[in-house]
C-alpha cells in the first residue's frame, strides 16, 4: 500500500563500510594530493605534431566521488530494521534539516570565499548535503534509542 523508494535493510551495513572507506580515501586524496598510479587509465590518443600521444587520466577522484555519492545515498535511504511511519518522519525531518544547513553553509562561503577557494567549496558541496543528512539522521536515531533505554 505504502510505496517508498528505499533500499532493503541488508544494504545498510555494506554501504556504511564503503562510505567510511571513501571518506578516508577522500581525506587521503585532499591531504596528500597524490593519486595512486594503478588508477591511471588511457582514455584516448591525440596527434600532437607528427606524434601520437596517449592521454592518461587518473580516476582516483572519479571513482571515489561516485562511490561516495552512491554509498551515502544507499546508507541514508535503506530501510531500518523496523521501517515504520515514525522513522519515515524522522528521515524526512533530517533531510529538511540537512538541506537548510547545507545551503546556509553555501551562502556563508559565497560571502567569504572567492575564486579558487570557492571552487573547492563547490567540490565539497557535491557531497555535504548527503553527509550532513546521514549525520543528522544517525543522531536522531541514537537519541530515540537513548530515550527508550532511559525508561528501562
Amino acid at each position: 500500500m505504502n510505496q517508498n523508494f528505499l533500499f532493503p535493510h541488508s544494504y545498510k551495513r555494506p554501504a556504511l563500510i564503503v562510505l567510511i572507506i571513501c571518506i578516508l580515501f577522500s581525506i587521503y586524496l585532499s591531504v596528500f594530493g597524490s593519486e595512486p598510479d594503478f588508477l591511471n587509465f588511457n582514455i584516448g590518443e591525440k596527434m600532437r605534431g607528427d606524434e601520437l600521444k596517449v592521454i592518461t587520466r587518473n580516476f582516483a577522484f572519479t571513482i571515489d566521488g561516485i562511490l561516495l555519492i552512491i554509498s551515502s545515498i544507499v546508507y541514508g535511504f535503506s530501510k531500518e530494521k523496523v521501517e515504520d511511519e515514525y522513522i519515515q518522519k524522522i528521515r524526512l525531518e533530517s533531510l529538511v534539516w540537512a538541506v537548510y544547513i547545507n545551503y546556509a553553509l553555501v551562502i556563508i562561503t559565497f560571502l567569504i570565499l572567492y575564486d579558487i577557494s570557492f571552487l573547492y567549496v563547490m567540490v565539497y558541496n557535491l557531497f555535504t548535503v548527503l553527509i550532513i543528512f546521514n549525520i543528522k539522521f544517525y543522531i536522531s536515531k541514537t537519541k530515540l534509542n537513548k530515550s527508550l533505554s532511559d525508561e528501562e
Binding site: 515504520d84 511511519e85 515514525y86 522513522i87 534509542n145 530515550s147 527508550l148
Partner: protein, 66 residues
C-alpha cells in the same frame, strides 16, 4: 491529540515491545506516541484501536489546541 495507549496497554497487560510487535512498528514508535511526541497516522491509530478492541475515540482524543 492525546492518547490512552499506556492505560489500554496496562488493561491488556502487555509491554511496549509486545504491542510494537503486534502492530508492526518499532518500540520507539510506541514510546514516542505514549509520550505524545508522535501523532500516528489514521491507519496506525485504527490498528491500535482494533487491537485494544475499543472504538478509536476511546484511545485517541483531540486536545483543545487541535
Amino acid at each position: 491529540m492525546k492518547n490512552k495507549i499506556k492505560i489500554q496497554r496496562a488493561i491488556k497487560d502487555i509491554t511496549q515491545a509486545q504491542l510494537a510487535e503486534i502492530i508492526g512498528v518499532s518500540r520507539q514508535t510506541i514510546n514516542a506516541m505514549e509520550k505524545g511526541k508522535y501523532i500516528p497516522s489514521t491507519v496506525l491509530s485504527l490498528k491500535i484501536a482494533r487491537y485494544f478492541e475499543t472504538p478509536l475515540e476511546e484511545v485517541f482524543s483531540l486536545e483543545d489546541e487541535d
